[in-house]
Each structure stands twice: as C-alpha cells, then as structure tokens.
C-alpha cells in the first residue's frame, strides 16, 4: 500500500474499493510457526485447502503440493484438520524434518 497518500486522495471511511486486493498484503509476514507438509502421509483429501483461511494451500493437478509462504500466517488450522497427520508445525527458523 502506498503510505504517502493524503486524506484528500483516499476513499472515505477506509472503504476498500478494489476487490481482491488482499493479494497485495502478505499475511505471511506475521508467521511465527510454519506448516511442513509430509507428502508420504498425504491423501490429497483437500481438507486443509478448504479450511485454510488465507487460501495458502497450493494445489496442482488435484494434489496438495505445498504452502504459499507469502500468505501462510502459520495459524496451524491445516495441521489441526488434517485427518492423516500429513502436516506438522515447526517454529519459524527451525528446521523441519
């Protein structure tokens, strides 16, 4: 977001007029823990993809292939909902397995 705009140049009330501009805001900046995908356990059930509040689960050819760390905020919901222990959370900066 352009930080230089004056009160004369912005929509009133803090209204956001451009749809989908959440894409410009990298919620991944906040992350303190990081999901690690354990591919051999994954059944590609897409449950994590449905539940992720930031649409950060990457799916290719109907397969869960990883996490978009620009947007993953590390909430751990994917780990919590995964029925197959295919996601674990590790503290940011520490190694996953």
């Amino acid at each position: 977001m352009d930080q230089e705009k004056t009160w004369k140049e912005i929509p009133w009330g803090g209204l956001i007029l451009d749809a989908g501009n959440a894409q410009e805001y990298h919620t991944g900046d906040w992350r303190t823990e990081r999901p690690v995908h354990i591919m051999e356990n994954c059944k590609h059930c897409m449950y994590c993809w449905i539940c992720c509040p930031d649409s950060a689960v990457i799916v290719k050819d109907k397969k869960m292939v990883g996490v978009d760390f620009d947007f993953c905020k590390g909430c751990g919901i994917c780990m919590k909902v995964c029925p197959f222990d295919a996601i674990k959370m590790v503290v940011e900066g520490e190694e996953g397995d």
Binding site: W7, I10, W12, G13, G14, I16
Partner: protein
Amino acid sequence: MARSMAMAGNIAAAYSTKQINPHVVAAYPITPQTTMMEKFSEYVANGEVDTELICVESEHSAMSACVGAAAAGGRVITSTAANGLALMFEIVYIAASNRLPIIMCVMNRALSAPINIHGDHSDSMGCRDSGWIQIYNENAQEVYDTMFMGVRIGEHKDVRLPVMVNLDGFITSHKIEKVDTLEDAEVRKFIGEYEPFYPLLDIENPVTYGPLDLTDYYFEHKRQQVEAMEKALPVVKKISKEYSNYTGRNYDILESYHLDDADCAIVTMSSTAGTTKFVVDKMRSEGKKVGMLKVRLFRPFPVEEIRECLSGLKSVAVLDRSASFGGFGGPLFNEIRNAMYDVDGKPSIVNYIFGLGGRDISAVQIEGVYDRLMTAQAKMPGDVHYIGVRGD
C-alpha cells in the same frame, strides 16, 4: 393539498418517516420514543409504506442493523432516547465513520441513574463528538420539517453523514400541536430518489466496509470526517433555505428573536426557546431590550454565524439542559463562549444549567435570568449558575 393536522412530536416524526418511505427502519422501543415506532409499525402493518421494519432485541442491534442496511445501499431511519442511545454508542460512531446518511430521531431524555424518563439533553450531548450532524427542534412542526431536510443534508454528496433529529422528550414528543404537512408527492419531490454511494449490494463493484485501519491511515480518515462536517455547514444552510422557499416555513441554522437592538440575550435550544420567546414578548412590551438566540444546528457548530448574532450585545446567558460533570459549564456554554473569545467588545457570557430530568423551567425563571443580566453592570459574578434546583 397540504393539510394541517394535530400531532404529537412523535407522531410528526412517524408521519414524516412514512412520507419518506425509507427502505429500512430498525428500532427498539424506549420511553419517550415508543409512540413514534408504534405509529410507524401501524403504517407498516397497513401496507402504507414499502419499508422493511426490523424489530431488534436492543438499541445496539438497532443501530447495527441500520449500519448494515445503509451500507447495503438503503435509505434508513431509526429513533431512540436516553439509555437506548447510550447502548448504541459504539455503533453511533461507526455509522458516522462509515459515512452512512442514517436519520435518527432522538427524543431527548435524561440518562440514568437514578432512572428518569423525562426530557433533558444529556443523551445527545454525550454523542456530540460522534460525527453526527445534530439539529435540535423546538416543536412538532420543526421535527416534521427537519426530517425531510435531514434526508437531503445527510445524503448530500459533499456530506454523507448521519443526522440526529432531536426533540425534547415528553415536552415535544407527547404534546399535541398543529402541524402543517406536505403531500406525499411534495415530500418525494423534495427528498428525491436515494442515490447510494458504494452500496454493498452492487455486486458488480464489490467494496469492503470497516477494514482494519491503524497508525498509517486512521488519522487521515478522521481528518476526512472533520472536513465533511465543515462542508455540512453551508449545505445545511442551503437546504434550509430551499425548504423554506418550498414550504413558506422559515428555517435556518439559528433563529434570532429580537436580537438586533437587544442589550442582553438568552441562548438556548429546543422547546425552551418557545418559552423564552414568550418572555421576550412580555419584556419587550415593557420596553426592555432583550432578545433570544435559538441554536438549531449544534453539530457542526456554526461559529461565524453565532459571532454575528451575539456581537454587539452587552451580556448573554447560555441555558444548557445538560450538565458536563467536571467540565467548565454545560456543552452549549462551552461552544458559545469559545466562539466569542476572539471577538472584540464581546458580551459577558454566563451559563445556567436547567431542567435536568425534565424539571420544568417557567417563564418567571427565564424573566429572572433577563433581570439579572440587565442589572449586572459589566459582568455577572460567577460563571455557572443553576435554575430551579433546590439549594442552588
């Protein structure tokens, strides 16, 4: 043809709401507002309006529903009083901050505790910094007319702010008076079609209301609200004039009564202005140079216009129907004396607090204030006085 009708202030508010035919009304009953919503519910039940009436479980919900409906793109009206307004407080600010031109009638009533259902201005004065335009009305006719002006003012493209239409609880809300009305078609012509700005229901142009706004932009959005209030002042004047021409009933942001050659004056608001006019007439017939200034528009506060009206007077008493505990006099006094501070040869200005909890103020008491103003040589001793409280 326009008709004269006998109506209490609340019925005038309900009848004008019916003629406005808003998309949504959301309200919760509270004395002395209740009879307005009872009457309006009747119109809804009879199919006389197209309005979606939302009966909510509290005033907090009432204002929340109004905010949602207005953001969706509707013309929205509500009403409340006293503790109901206090319960709404959080959302009252949100309505103004989101720039939603909601109309709210407030039947001014004392705040608890102890519980009191009668008229004073402590409720709306608590909201004076909320970003709502505030207009205080003397009688049922003013209430009726101000509703239509309020719609135009709030919805004006330079303004887009909610408007509080204030009337004195019971004194005006329940007293039956003659009200000259407009035809529905005349009302429709004056208020025009509603033009929503950034409606949520416009799915082709999606918008987000109420996002997080921290140290980087919140201040700028508040600065915009200050500007909107500044722009509201000429708009209120212009629309009052337009309405006066339309109906032949004169409206302005202030009403001065025998001020031109007066030595001393009382400044007050709402129904007390009527009593004060009666006293001015009596004292004028005795050759006494007294006058009155009625403040209709309290937010935005018309500083320049107040200066014009009060310069040249010797002494002024500001009558406040609410107390500001720990403050330097009542809210109206604060504004008036502050506005006059830089005026050369300004009058001496004192404050009288009166009428809390609906305590009557009599013509004799008002005459007593004028007598004291006239006998005080230069400046009356003391700043803040009380009318009608036992023990002074």
